[in-house]
Every structure is written in structure tokens, then in C-alpha cells.
């Protein structure tokens, strides 16, 4: 096993094996989110799905962009954009650690020949008002996975909580293939000819050009403008939803008719919070670019992070509420006296967000 032998997994085989493993354990295989994110956690498949009571299992690869980490493709260990394989298990099964270790077996790591340790590492994302406790999983001294029990997201306490496994794919591939530079990782191998395509061939150009863009060319004034535009639209959406909900509550409160406000209820249910969340992600990415450009002073930094966080928290709370509405709508199909249904719905709509 391992040691640069040609039978070590290619980068894409590594992904396929992990995906297969988790698919076999009940995960939905999602595709990477198509808005820039700094980590797999920020993709809505994590950020929004972990909220609320619905069980969910999902796995997906997420290219994660961190403009300040770019090194023009010159550093063998650091990337502007790296790939994470993100697994969310909500709620986590009791044997979640054992499952995780089994997944290492699936990618050819025989733990009897290696040293594995779970070392404390508590994850926190201030821009998302999210945190959890957990470990960095160390394999022969290499951090290969971030294992987190997610406790809070968007300022909302999670119930049930969930396990988040984030595999660092480049690191694991370099380990399996025993190469010292990420760029030497074999991405694909032609099964007929044995010809290989390396990581550098696939990704080096992005690393170089995005480093140049993020550090040298990104237009600071325009980036600020974009930031403000996205932020303004996102805020406007959150406010608009607030008005809809108030109207709904008012209509229901003032009327004995169980169908009162159904128009508003519908407009709450179809309200594009997902669109608002994309705008929030845009802000987060622009913040990262501005940061890489050195355009944010330390004193401003805290303030800008707080602005992004306010968007994320606003959306998370609204999302929880919106989901509650949905579960009430599902219950509405059950035979139930109308009057009782009415009171219940009113109560749901009036209950404080995030509780």
C-alpha cells in the first residue's frame, strides 16, 4: 500500500471512493455549490440544512476559495482554492467515529500500519456566527480531516446537532501518492495508456491567475461597491420578509377565518431566502478579496465581519422560521378540527424566531 506506487488512488478516484462510501451510508451526493465559498460549511447544503429538526445526510466536494492563501502556484503546500469533501450527518449516528475510520479504509489506508490521533480542535466561523467542538484527525502527523460536532450555526442552536466531516482532499491525495508537492498529485490516469494528468495541469493556471487577480488586480473601489450592492440587496430581502411575516401575523390575529392571510402565508413560504443567502456569500467572498488586497484595516475588519455576520444570522433565523411554516403546512393535511388548526398556526407564526 501507499508509497508513490502506481496503484495509489488518483485524485479523482479518491473523490469517487469517498463519495461511494458515504452514498452507501445514506448520504445524498450533492454537487459543489456554484457560488464562491471559503469552506464547505458555507455551502447552503451545510449552512441551511443543519438548521431545524429535519434529519439529513449529505456529501459533496466543495472547492473552497481563500484569496489570501494564494501563493501564485509557487508554494507546494498552499493553495488559493482547495477541495474539501464535506459530509454532514444530522443527527450523527452513535458510531460516527468508527464510520469515519472505516471511510479511511475505503481509500486504502490500513490503520493497523498507521498512527491515528484525534486531537482537540474547536471550529469557529465568526462571519457565520457558527461554532462546534471536535478534533483535527492526525494521520502519521498529518491533519487529514476536520471532525466537528456542530453546535450553533447562524446564531441558532442546532437541535439536533450534527457531525461535519471535512476531508482535505489534496493533503490526503499527496499522502496516498507520497508526493511532496500538491502539483505533483496524479489527478487522473488513462486506464489504457497509463498516461497521467497531474494536479498542476488541471489547476496551476487558476492558482497563478487568481493570485495575481486577488493580490494585484482586483479593483478595490469596485469590490467595495459590489460588496455594498450585494449587502444592500440582501438586507432589503431580509427586511421585506419581515414585513410579510408581520402582515401575516396581523391578518391571522384579526380574523376568525382559518384561511385568513393564506396569501401572505404563501408569500412567506416562497420567499427567496436562498437568493438572499447567495448575496450573503458574495459579500463574504468580496470581503476575502478586499482582505487579500490589504484594503481592510484592522480596525475596519471587525466591523466588516460583523456586517457579513448580520446577514448570515438574519437569514438563518428567517430560514428556521420558514421551515417551521413548511412543517405546519405538512401537518395541515392531517385531519384535524379547523379551529384547533387555526390556533396552532397562529401560534407558530407568532413564536419568536430561532426558539
Amino acid at each position: 500500500m501507499t508509497s508513490s506506487s502506481s496503484n495509489a488512488l488518483t485524485f479523482q478516484e479518491l473523490i469517487l471512493r469517498l463519495q461511494t462510501f458515504w452514498a452507501q451510508r445514506g448520504c445524498v451526493l450533492q454537487q459543489p455549490y456554484d457560488v464562491e465559498v471559503g469552506a464547505g460549511t458555507m455551502a447552503p447544503e451545510t449552512f441551511l440544512r443543519v438548521l431545524g429538526p429535519k434529519p439529513y445526510r449529505v456529501a459533496y466536494v466543495q472547492p473552497s476559495r481563500r484569496p489570501a492563501d494564494g501563493r501564485y502556484g509557487e508554494n507546494p503546500n498552499r493553495l488559493f482554492k482547495h477541495m474539501q469533501l464535506q459530509v454532514i450527518l444530522k443527527p450523527p449516528p452513535e458510531n460516527v467515529q468508527e464510520l469515519y475510520l472505516e471511510s479511511l479504509g475505503a481509500i486504502g489506508i490500513d490503520l493497523r500500519h498507521h498512527d491515528i490521533k484525534f486531537e482537540e480542535d474547536n471550529w469557529e466561523a465568526p462571519t457565520l456566527s457558527a461554532w462546534g467542538v471536535g478534533w483535527q484527525v492526525m494521520l502519521d502527523g498529518l491533519e487529514i480531516t476536520q471532525f466537528t460536532y456542530f453546535q450553533q450555526c447562524g446564531g441558532v442552536d442546532l437541535n439536533p446537532m450534527c457531525a461535519e466531516l471535512t476531508y482535505g482532499l489534496e493533503r490526503i491525495a499527496a499522502f496516498l501518492q507520497d508526493v511532496d508537492s500538491i502539483y505533483d498529485i496524479v489527478w487522473a490516469r488513462d486506464p489504457d495508456t497509463g498516461a497521467v494528468v497531474k494536479y498542476a495541469e488541471v489547476r496551476l493556471a487558476d492558482e497563478l491567475q487568481f493570485s495575481v487577480y486577488n493580490f494585484e488586480f482586483a479593483d478595490v473601489d469596485k469590490a467595495w461597491k459590489h460588496f455594498e450592492l450585494y449587502e444592500a440587496e440582501c438586507n432589503a430581502l431580509i427586511e421585506k420578509l419581515g414585513v410579510e411575516k408581520k402582515d401575516l401575523a396581523l391578518k391571522r390575529g384579526n380574523s376568525a377565518d382559518p384561511d385568513a392571510g393564506s396569501g401572505h402565508a404563501q408569500s412567506v413560504a416562497r420567499f427567496p431566502l436562498l437568493g438572499a443567502y447567495d448575496l450573503c456569500l458574495k459579500c463574504s467572498h468580496l470581503f476575502n478579496i478586499l482582505d487579500a488586497r490589504g484594503a481592510i484595516s484592522v480596525t475596519e475588519r471587525v466591523g466588516v465581519i460583523a456586517r457579513v455576520r448580520a446577514l448570515a444570522v438574519g437569514i438563518a433565523k428567517a430560514w428556521v422560521d420558514q421551515q417551521k411554516g413548511e412543517s405546519v403546512a405538512e401537518k395541515a393535511d392531517e385531519p384535524e378540527p379547523a379551529a384547533e388548526k387555526h390556533t396552532k398556526r397562529t401560534k407558530e407564526a407568532l413564536s419568536p424566531v430561532g426558539s
Binding site: 498552499r78 502519521d140 502527523g141 484592522v298
Partner: protein, 712 residues
């Protein structure tokens, strides 16, 4: 008398938390057993990253029955005409005895009826099943989590519980887990259920499942570190207690491998290499007999030692990448000199109200100039130009990649860069090196065990930097309280005390802190500052406590000696230390035991007089009606006082105190024969004046009323 075993099986507990939690569990179980009268022998703990366990041999199977006397209604109520009333019957029923068994007891309130009741002791199993879950839930964790219900919290999910009395399971439940007899072995080397036959067999059962207790792991690690190091002649592994504790707490069945790295990395400073190895990789460094780093490392594994060499290979690969990173940072950092970086500090926040590190740099430079003046005036030799330049550059390394990556190397990196860079062509190399060392050392001492800076200039910068921080924070009212000290201001004050003491610097804390505060004059923060008086008071309290801690902790002075010494003065660290030494020297003399008692007496007399509004006379004067003991004491004070004062001024404290010891006889005679608080107001005021003068004489070096008499 069964053996009791409790094991909490948990997902990996953070290494830094295990020991404290294990100790707490032990204390909780001990307290529970005592409270519930279940006795038991010596408790032992067993802890690993995946379990906390307590073993207690020979606890009681059940509580002993408890016989109590219950008191009922008074005899008058309980019996009418010798016959029991309904009240007597009711009481007998409550106490579960026959009316005929009721007794009479006499109490201060009269005669009452009583009954002896025996409360049946509960079984240990029942009590433990009921109480242990609360004890487990009560364990303190610096950071905890929930996994089932938000109100159930523990450090990580609990996955199994073993609770036994000899071979019997105690049916306890915690967070949805029911205790049984099944533990688990090592994750990889055993990976399976381990049935514990009885509490007494626990340690052996785990050992065969490749799980060792703490002491055994530590022994094993030390032994294998030694063995691995012997592979290379003439070298040793670098002792590191904190690192050792950390790896002991990360393993259940440790072993060690020896790895190597390319010797070209040795061109990087040893500080950087060791930090990478220790902090990022938890590796032990290897050095030769002269302490020079060698291109090898030792990694502690949580498995057997990887016979296939894969583990060594993997660890070497990671270290190579880490060292490459460090070298990249080092080279990138050289593109901008420290001098150029000073300006970048404008955008590095020191504290939100106190401005940037650039502002701090300016203030510390100013404060260091002041220190320079004071020290020079007091005859301390300071190399010119060193501290000023060092203070200017000291924080510049905060903008370097290396410090951003390894914050614990702040200062050290600055020092290394200052040594490697030209700084200023007009500087002699000797001065440049002195500046570099001053920067290098200026965070020292980082703990009470850590060394102080090597040079006087390093000491000055260390003090100046910390005094500036404390001044700003205290002026903002951010005073540490209880366990809350987020800016580690106590630690910084400890460092100041230690540096002043060890470098014997003639500094007055209050003056220095006043000047440190003056550095903020005209800054935006000033509007938020507390007034001068409140500031001075809180600073005084801080340093008094720190000095007290230092005298006790570093010098081992007894509590009362420290109190006595600091009762006289707390402003001069070196002087306090000298006085403490002198007090300790003379304290064993019987005279001082007597003087201590006399001082207490004098203090009481003066306090009582003050409470009654009786004022001492301005000065003592010899009156015709003055007692002879009174007069001879006054004569003694007049004659000896100035001599003591002269010795004190020369800081010959031991001699001064020995001279004071001669006061015992006149003082004792005075108190034997003379009453101070007499009716005659004039005589009384006169005597009070004498007492006051005397107490003042005694208290200039130490407040002897604080001395605890020997044998008490």
C-alpha cells in the same frame, strides 16, 4: 466489602483537560462515598483520552443502619391521666413504633416523648446508581458540547459506561447510556469489547486490550524516547515537560519512532525548528551534548512502532513540508526590514481603545527613556542607544509571516531578524547584537518559572512594554477580578516584579506606573480613563498582591513575614525583598516574638482610643506623675530611635532589627507596670503618644503586629 469501579467511556477528550477532570471525578466519588457512609479504601484513578475511571477497594455493601431519636409532643400533650392521647398514637405511628415503646426525654423546654427509630441503610448499588449520574454531569469542562439534548452536556459524547461492585453491574444511566461490564480496548490495536470480570481486574483487562494508565504511559514514553535516542551516539532528546504531558494525554498505548530531516534546514534558527516540531507536530527535538540541534526528531505514536516504516516516512514528509513553509516565511520576511515594518504597525490594533501597536511603540520608547534616566541617576550602567532602538523595533515582527504563523515566537523572531539585518549602518556590530538580544528577550519572563531577560536593556524593555499595557488597561478600568484576567495582566505584573527583583533595579512601582499612564496623555483613550486616584489605588492593589505572591512563591517566605514586610511598604520591590530577608533572620529570636505581641497590643490600644475619640498628645513629654518604666521607655526611644533610623537608611535592615530587639526589656516593663488608658486625660494622652511613636519606630521595616507567634 466489594470493590467499586466506574469508567466513563468517551470519544477523545482534549489532552489539556484530562488530568483535571480525572482529579475532579476522584474527588466527587470520594465525597459521595463519605457523604453516604460507604467508606472504602484508597481511591485510584485511571484515565486515557477515551476514558476516566475511578477504583475504590472495599466499599460497604450498604450503609449501616442509623438509629436516631425522634422527639415528639410534650408529655403533657401525649398523655392524659397516664393514658396515651391521639397525639401519642400519631407520633408512634409516624416513628413506626408501638406506643408502649415511647420514651420520655428531658429537654430545656420540659419533658417530651421520644422514640428510637432505626433507619435501614440503603444499598451501595442503589445509592451509586442514583447519585453517580449527577456527579458525572457535574464535572467541569473548559468547553463542552451536547449531542442528544441541549441540556445534557459533556466534553465529548459518552459512548459507554462501566459501573460495578465486584462482579455486579450497578444499573446507572447517564445521557441515554446504561452502565454495563463492557469496556473498550485500544481503537486500532484491540478494537473490540473488553469484558471486565470485576473491578479489581480492570487495569489488567485493559492492559491486555492495549490500554495503559497514565503513569505507565509516561514511563513507557520516557523509556522509549531514551531507547530511540541511543541509536545515535552522544545525543539526547530535549526535555520538555509540557510536551511530554501532552503526548501522555494523547495516547493509550504509546511508542516512539526516530525520524530525520534534511540537515540543510538547520540553517534556519533552532527556535523556529523547535517550535515547528513541538507546537505543530508534537515532536521532541534531539540535540548534542552542547545543546546544538541535530537533524532528527522523535514522534510519539498511539500504536506500536510501525514496523513497516510507513509511519516514520509519513511523519518525515509532514515535517519537511512544515519546514519548507517556515523557510518560505523566513525568506519572504527578509524582503522588508524591521525598520520598514515599524510603519506597518499603524494598522495592527493593540487594543480597541488604546490604539495601534505603532502608538504603543511610541509610548514604550518614551517610557524606556524615563527608565533609562532613573536607572542612570541611581548608578545603574546602561549601554547608550540600545533600549531606545530596541523599543522602536520590538513590535515590528508582528507584521512578519513567521510570527503570523507562530505567534509564540513573537519577540524571538524580531530578535533573530535584527541580528540578521543591517538595521542602521552607523551602528557598531556590538550595539546591533545588543539591540537584537533586547528585542529577543523582551517578552520574558513568560511565566514564574521562565528566566528574566539577559541584559539590563532587555529588562528595561520587558518592564516598559508590560507597564504600558497594564497602565492602559487599568486606566480604562479593565482590572482583573477573580478568575477573570483576559489580558493576562496579573502575569505581566508578576513578570515586572520578578525582573525588578532579579535585576535589583532601583525603581518605585507607583512612580513608574504613573509615568506609564502619562504616556497616554493626549490620546483618544484618555476620555475613557478612570481618575488618577482610582488608577493609583488599583495599581497599588495589583502590585501588592503580585509582590506578596512573589515573596511567597519564589522565595518561600511565610505568610506572616510577607504580610509584615508589605505592611510597611510595597512600592520598592528590591527593598521589600531585603526587608523580608532581614525579618526572617531575626524572627526566631525570642525578643521578636515578644515585640510582635507588644505591637499587636499597641495597635489595639491605639485603635480603641481612636474608637472612643481619645487623641494622643502631640509629643510625649516627661511629666512628674509619669511612671519610671514610662520614662525609661521614652528615653530608650529617644536614644535608640535615631540609630535604628540611620541603619534603616543605609538599608542595613538586619542590624537595625537587632538593635530594635533591645527594646524588648523596656517595652515589657512598660506594659507590665503601666496602664495606658487611665482616667487622667493628660497622662493618658501622653502615654498614647509614647505608644504611637514606638509603634511607628517598630513598623518602618516590617509591621510586626502581623507576625504569628511561634507554636501557635
Amino acid at each position: 466489602m466489594p470493590d467499586f469501579l466506574l469508567e466513563i467511556g468517551c470519544e477523545e477528550i482534549p489532552a489539556r483537560m484530562i488530568e483535571a477532570a480525572s482529579l475532579e471525578l476522584r474527588e466527587r466519588v470520594a465525597a459521595l462515598l463519605a457523604r453516604e457512609r460507604l467508606a472504602g479504601g484508597e481511591l485510584t484513578t485511571f484515565d486515557t483520552p477515551r476514558r476516566l475511571a475511578v477504583l475504590v477497594p472495599g466499599i460497604s455493601q450498604a450503609q449501616a443502619d442509623l438509629t436516631e431519636q425522634l422527639t415528639g409532643p410534650s408529655v403533657n400533650v401525649a398523655f392524659k391521666d397516664g393514658q396515651p392521647t391521639p397525639a401519642a398514637h400519631a407520633f408512634a405511628k409516624k416513628a413506626a413504633v408501638d406506643v408502649s415503646q415511647l420514651e420520655r426525654v428531658t429537654t430545656p423546654k420540659g419533658e417530651y416523648i421520644a422514640a428510637k427509630v432505626t433507619r435501614k441503610g440503603r444499598s451501595a448499588a442503589e445509592i451509586l446508581a442514583e447519585s453517580l449520574p449527577k456527579e458525572i454531569a457535574g464535572i467541569y469542562w473548559p468547553k463542552n458540547m451536547y449531542w442528544r439534548k441541549p441540556n445534557e452536556r459533556f466534553v465529548r459524547p459518552v459512548r459507554w459506561l462501566v459501573a460495578m461492585l465486584d462482579g455486579e453491574t450497578i444499573p446507572l444511566e447517564f445521557d441515554g447510556i446504561t452502565a454495563g461490564k463492557t469496556s473498550r480496548g485500544h481503537r486500532i490495536l484491540h478494537d473490540g469489547a473488553v469484558t471486565i470480570p470485576a473491578g479489581s481486574a480492570y487495569v489488567d483487562a485493559l492492559r491486555s486490550a492495549k490500554v495503559l494508565g497514565r503513569a505507565e504511559r509516561e514511563y513507557q514514553i520516557r523509556k522509549t524516547l531514551d531507547a530511540a535516542t541511543r541509536a545515535i551516539p552522544g545525543v539526547r532528546w530535549r526535555e520538555d515537560k509540557a510536551l511530554l504531558d501532552s503526548v501522555v494525554n494523547l495516547t493509550e498505548f504509546p511508542s516512539v519512532i526516530l525520524g530525520g530531516f534534511d540537515s540543510q534546514f538547520l540553517s534556519l534558527p533552532a527556535e523556529v525548528l523547535v517550535t515547528v516540531m513541538r507546537d505543530q507536530q508534537k515532536y521532541f527535538a534531539i540535540e548534542d551534548a552542547n545543546g546544538k540541534l541535530l537533524p532528527h526528531f522523535l514522534a510519539v505514536l498511539n500504536t506500536d512502532s510501525g514496523p513497516h516504516g510507513l509511519i516514520r516516512h509519513g511523519n518525515e514528509r509532514v515535517l519537511r513540508a512544515r519546514f519548507n513553509d517556515a523557510r518560505f516565511f523566513w525568506e519572504t520576511d527578509q524582503k522588508k526590514s524591521l525598520l520598514e515594518r515599524v510603519d506597518l504597525l499603524r494598522s495592527v490594533t493593540f487594543q480597541k481603545d488604546l490604539g495601534s501597536y505603532y502608538d504603543k511603540t511610541q509610548r514604550v520608547q518614551r517610557l524606556c527613556s524615563w527608565l533609562n534616566e532613573i536607572l542612570k541617576q541611581n548608578g545603574v550602567t546602561v549601554r547608550p542607544g540600545v533600549v531606545h532602538k530596541a523599543a522602536c523595533l520590538a513590535k515590528a515582527d508582528l507584521t512578519t509571516e513567521l510570527v503570523k504563523e507562530f505567534t509564540e515566537l513573537q519577540g524571538i523572531v524580531g530578535g533573530l531578524y535584527a541580528r540578521a539585518q543591517q538595521l542602521d549602518p552607523s551602528l557598531k556590530e556590538e550595539t546591533r547584537f545588543a539591540i537584537a538580544d533586547t528585542i529577543y528577550d523582551h517578552y520574558k519572563p513568560e511565566s514564574t518559572e521562565d528566566d528574566v531577560p539577559r541584559s539590563i536593556e532587555g529588562a528595561m524593555l520587558s518592564i516598559g512594554d508590560k507597564a504600558d499595557t497594564i497602565a492602559g488597561m487599568f486606566a480604562l478600568g479593565l482590572v482583573p477580578s477573580g478568575s477573570k484576567d483576559p489580558f493576562a495582566l496579573r502575569r505581566q505584573a508578576n513578570a515586572i516584579v520578578k525582573v525588578i527583583a532579579e535585576k535589583k533595579l532601583p525603581l518605585h512601582l507607583s512612580e513608574m506606573m504613573k509615568d506609564a499612564r502619562a504616556g497616554y496623555r493626549g490620546s483618544a483613550a484618555e476620555k475613557k480613563f478612570v481618575d488618577d486616584e482610582a488608577y493609583a489605588q488599583s495599581i497599588k492593589t495589583l502590585f501588592r498582591e503580585r509582590l506578596e505572591f512573589y515573596l511567597k512563591d519564589a522565595w518561600g517566605y511565610a505568610y506572616d513575614v510577607v504580610k509584615a514586610v508589605l505592611g510597611a511598604d510595597v512600592d520598592d520591590v528590591v527593598d521589600s525583598l531585603a526587608r523580608a530577608q532581614a525579618v526572617k533572620q531575626v524572627l526566631h529570636l525570642p525578643e521578636f516574638q515578644a515585640i510582635g505581641a507588644a505591637c499587636k497590643r499597641m495597635r489595639n490600644i491605639l485603635r480603641q482610643a481612636e474608637e472612643k475619640g481619645i487623641k494622643p498628645a502631640e509629643n510625649f513629654e516627661s511629666l512628674p506623675e509619669s511612671a519610671s518604666e514610662e520614662q525609661s521607655l521614652a528615653a530608650y526611644v529617644e536614644g535608640t530611635g535615631p540609630r535604628v533610623e540611620a541603619l534603616r537608611k543605609e538599608k542595613k535592615y538586619a542590624e537595625a532589627l537587632l538593635l530594635l530587639a533591645t527594646a524588648r526589656q523596656p517595652v515589657d516593663a512598660f506594659f507590665d507596670k503601666v496602664m495606658v488608658m487611665v482616667e487622667d486625660p493628660k497622662l493618658r494622652a501622653n502615654r498614647l503618644a509614647l505608644v504611637r511613636t514606638l509603634l511607628k519606630e517598630f513598623s518602618t521595616i516590617a509591621d510586626f503586629s502581623e507576625i504569628v507567634a511561634e507554636g501557635k
